[in-house]
Amino acid sequence: NAGVTQTPKFRVLKTGQSMTLLCAQDMNHEYMYWYRQDPGMGLRLIHYSVGEGTTAKGEVPDGYNVSRLKKQNFLLGLESAAPSQTSVYFCASRPGRGWNEQFFGPGTRLTVL
C-alpha cells in the first residue's frame, strides 16, 4: 500500500512550456485534491474531484486544468507555464463522505524560469 504518490518529484520548466503532474492513490479514495504551497501562504486549493469523471475549481484554479479519468489518478496540467506557478504542489485524497482526514502525497517541486 503506497498511499498517495506524485510524479515527478522535481521539474524545471521554461515559461510557456506545458506539463502534467500525476497523482495516484491506491486506497480506493473517492475525493482527490490538488494544492499549491507557497512561502507564508500555507496551502491553497487549486482543483478537486469528488469522484471519477468529476472535477471542480478550488481557490486558485487559473492557469491549471485537471482530469480524473480513473478513480485512482488525478492529473494536474499546466498548458503554458508562468513564473508565478513556481511552487510546491501537493496532492491529497480522502475516502469519501463521513471521513475528515485528507492523506497527502510527498509533493512536486516545480520551478518555472
Binding site: M41, L43, A92, F104
Partner: protein, 115 residues
C-alpha cells in the same frame, strides 16, 4: 467563508522547553479543526483533529490542542519538545457539512527546536 490565522510564522525554542503554536479561525458555520505537520522535504501528516466531543485532543507524540469556541482558537501545545519536533505546523479548518471537506490552511508556523 472560513479563514485561518497562525499568529507566529516562526517559533524558536530550546529542547525540553514547552511550546504553544497559536491558531485562530473565523467562520460563519460549524467547522472541524486540524493540525498538520510537515517535516523537511516531506508531505503533510495529520497530527490531530477536533470533530466533536471533548475540546481537548491529543496526538500520539505528546502534542495537544484545545478547541475554544468562544475565542475561536485551536492552539497547539507540547509541554516538552524534542529536536525531532522541528517542522512546519499548519492549522486547518473545514466545514462540518457540505463543502466537500475542502481544507482552509493557515500560513504555517515553523518550529525550530535548538539543543
Amino acid at each position: 467563508a472560513q479563514s485561518v490565522t497562525q499568529l507566529d510564522s516562526q517559533v524558536p525554542v530550546f529542547e525540553e522547553a514547552p511550546v504553544e503554536l497559536r491558531c485562530n479561525y473565523s467562520s460563519s458555520v460549524s467547522v472541524y479543526l486540524f493540525w498538520y505537520v510537515q517535516y523537511p522535504n516531506q508531505g503533510l501528516q495529520l497530527l490531530l483533529k477536533y470533530l466533536s466531543g471533548s475540546t481537548l485532543v491529543e496526538s500520539i507524540n505528546g502534542f495537544e490542542a484545545e478547541f475554544n469556541k468562544s475565542q475561536t482558537s485551536f492552539h497547539l501545545r507540547k509541554p516538552s519538545v524534542h529536536i525531532s519536533d522541528t517542522a512546519e505546523y499548519f492549522c486547518a479548518v473545514s466545514r462540518t457539512s457540505g463543502g466537500y471537506n475542502k481544507l482552509i490552511f493557515g500560513a504555517g508556523t515553523r518550529l525550530a527546536v535548538h539543543p
